[in-house]
């Protein structure tokens, strides 16, 4: 690709590149990475226990406490498990729904269906979470629907958190999967069928590989948004405590400890992003 030099020499191209890339990267570095670095560095500071003022003496007490106190490990593992469960649930729901929207529904219906999936993104997150609180309540909608069947809803607790988070982030998973499926040429599917592959075989060998990057792209949202959430948990989580809650409860009193705790989701997500980038997820976002 030498097109870069089309309007001038290599020097001009470099200049143009710098002009194009400079502002966004400068913004990102100054406004975001700088802040993040300051935060993570402050994990090595400590707090005056009474005044809650940050004392800038270098030490690793917070990190040690984080690694040696069992309760933080429990919380981290629970949060990770919930994020994975939400992602799997969303993938399971999004695949058939997106497939139906993109390949089964008649083209006339595709747009309305997509609008229908995207509209809830505009409704307030808090209000949706509260609506679920009402639905899942002891005397709520879910229980009044299930009780004739002799069943009982999940109530407030970890299952409710998984359910509501999966609900909240579902459009983020459907959208990329839909886009990938819609782009899949009919010819490819027909070729697979002509070669004698059955429906399942075609799904497994042609459709799934095509949507895999999109699934990973969607999972970036479902996984990382779940990993950091602390408001939904407060609303429907019963007594469940997640990493977000632990950070939120420390942040005003003990910023260094909160910073140390923040390092956990940061490390998890950076690892996750690095992993899914190999699968081409970032290009399919």
């Amino acid at each position: 690709m030498r097109r870069a030099g089309a309007g001038g020499g290599a020097g001009g191209a470099r200049l143009r590149l710098a002009a194009l890339l400079g502002p966004p990267l400068l913004w990102l570095t100054l406004a975001y990475l700088g802040s993040l670095a300051v935060l993570l560095l402050s994990a090595f500071w400590t707090t005056d226990s009474f005044t809650s003022d940050v004392v800038r003496t270098w030490n690793t007490d917070n990190i040690q406490e984080l690694l040696t106190t069992p309760v933080y490990r429990t919380i981290a593992l629970r949060t990770l498990a919930i994020a994975v469960a939400v992602t799997l649930l969303d993938a399971l729901l999004a695949l058939p729904m997106a497939f139906c929207m993109a390949r089964v529904a008649s083209p006339r219906w595709r747009r309305p269906l997509l609008v229908a999936v995207l509209t809830p993104l505009w409704a307030s997150y808090l209000v949706k979470a509260y609506a679920w609180r009402v639905m899942l309540s002891e005397d709520g909608v879910v229980n009044s629907l299930l009780s004739p069947l002799g069943l009982h809803g999940p109530g407030y607790g970890t299952p409710a958190v998984v359910l509501v988070l999966a609900y909240l982030w579902l459009p983020y998973m459907i959208l990329p999967v839909y886009a990938a499926l819609e782009r899949l040429p009919e010819r490819t599917l027909e070729a697979s069928a002509d070669l004698g592959a059955g429906t399942w075989r075609t799904l497994r060998s042609v459709v799934l590989p095509a949507v895999r990057p999109a699934l990973f792209a969607g999972s970036v949202f479902t996984f990382s948004l779940s990993l950091g959430d602390y408001i939904t948990v407060q609303i429907v989580g019963g007594k469940t405590q997640l990493l977000g809650n632990a950070i939120a409860s420390q942040v005003t009193l003990d910023l260094p400890m909160a910073a140390a705790l923040s390092a956990v989701p940061v490390v998890l997500i950076v690892c996750y992003l690095a992993a899914v980038r190999r699968a081409g997820a970032l290009d399919a976002l």
């Binding site: 226990s49 407030y156 409860s249 420390q250």
Partner: protein, 392 residues
């Protein structure tokens, strides 16, 4: 690829080194000894307030509740309010130095005093201070060395609420949510804050005298451990912890919670929703909160802040706030101004016998608040970590 990430990190590190230098040069505050003004000057035309939701209403949420606009009209001080959800949030907002005054509860006040973020208040400059209930003056949670660090605003107890149709016989002791909590497995609720450890300590004062707890906010390591053990046991029976009105009202109304701590106003609202609930002050007494309007040591608009302090505890306004928020007013003349003549009776505003049984929230500190000299107590940071552990 790994190399590139490293270089990105290196540049990030360079930037943050710059930031650190900037920070190190700029803000080494040594102004810990703030002074109260001797007299007031003209208003600065503006005041920035941190308040609990419902404390500084300008009618934008409920046209009936507006005591900000009359204040602005009277004093020419324009009010900007930031609503804080928790005491911790109030402390961190005060630390920004952008606010002039805050309605701090007792679990925040001592921290603000100690860090030098709050300045002593010259009560002579607040004419309405003379009508404040004497029991609220010079308390450990709003004063230090005999100097007031704010103007008392209102108070309330953390009561025991239960569903009359699900909890029988009617409880009269905190035992119902501690040792007997299993009877309502999964339906018990508790306030979601480290300060709730004091509720367990209060119960242990009576239930386990051998621990020697004299003040629920002065716990040594052993006493804190005992409270944490009790709370961990309670955790098994907890359905959810609550921190806002809405959550608790819906939980009691829907039957998700049947017993737990509450505020008087929540009990009233839940009853107004026709839920069969009742709130009692158990025989052990209760913890409670008393809010204090404090002035920032870095206040940019101290004159307007003092005007606000006097305004908010003036009889009429204090009555308005107390009714809107649902608490006992601090100004005794406010009781004559409430639109519901029974308000002060319902909230026990002038019932000192009632409030003698209430241990108001106080920030736990290393130096034992009960006067013990031979031991160090656990501080709020330790309570916070203990609370994380209780919730598991």
């Amino acid at each position: 690829m790994r190399k590139r990430t490293t270089s990105a990190w290196r540049s990030a590190a360079a930037v943050c080194a710059l930031l650190l230098t900037a920070a190190g040069c700029g803000s080494d505050d040594d102004g810990k000894a703030a002074h109260a003004p001797g007299k007031l000057g003209k208003g600065e035309g503006k005041v920035n307030i941190i308040a609990w939701a419902g404390y500084a209403e300008d009618g934008s949420n409920d046209p009936q509740a507006d005591w900000v606009h009359p204040f602005e009209k009277k004093t020419g001080c324009k009010v900007d309010t930031k609503t804080a959800g928790t005491s911790d949030e109030m402390v961190s907002l005060m630390k920004t130095g952008q606010y002039d005054t805050v309605s701090a509860s007792g679990d925040a006040t001592l921290r603000l005093i100690a860090s030098g973020d709050a300045a002593p208040v010259n009560t002579k400059l607040v004419p309405n201070y003379k009508d404040i209930f004497p029991a609220l003056k010079q308390q450990p949670f709003n004063s230090k060395d005999g100097r007031m660090y704010g103007i008392p605003h209102g108070r309330g107890a953390n009561l025991l609420m239960y569903r009359t149709d699900k909890v029988k016989p009617a409880p009269d002791s905190w035992r119902a949510v501690f040792d007997d909590a299993a009877a309502h497995n999964g339906r018990v609720t508790a306030y979601d804050s480290p300060i709730y450890i004091a509720d367990a300590a209060l119960y242990l004062m009576r239930a386990k005298p051998s621990l020697g707890i004299k003040n629920p906010y002065a716990l040594d390591k052993k006493q804190l451990d005992a409270a944490v053990t009790l709370l961990k046991k309670q955790h098994k029976a907890i359905g959810e912890y609550w921190s806002d009105y809405q959550k608790e009202i819906t939980a009691f109304k829907g039957g998700d919670s049947v017993i737990g701590t509450t505020w008087q106003v929540i009990a009233n609202l839940t009853q107004a929703e026709k839920a069969p609930v009742k709130a009692v002050l158990p025989k052990e007494g209760a913890t409670g909160w008393s809010d204090t309007w404090m002035v920032s040591a870095k206040a940019e608009h101290p004159n307007c802040a003092y005007k606000w302090l006097d305004w908010i505890v003036s009889p009429k306004v204090n009555a308005q706030v107390a009714e809107y928020f649902g608490e006992a007013p601090a100004n005794r003349k406010a009781c004559a101004e409430t639109s519901d003549p029974n308000h002060c009776a319902v909230f026990h505003a002038d019932d000192e016998k009632y409030f003698q049984r209430v241990h108001f929230w106080t920030t736990p500190i290393k130096q034992c608040l009960d006067g013990r000299k031979n031991t160090t107590c656990t501080d709020y940071a330790q309570w916070t970590r203990a609370w994380t552990e209780v919730k598991g």
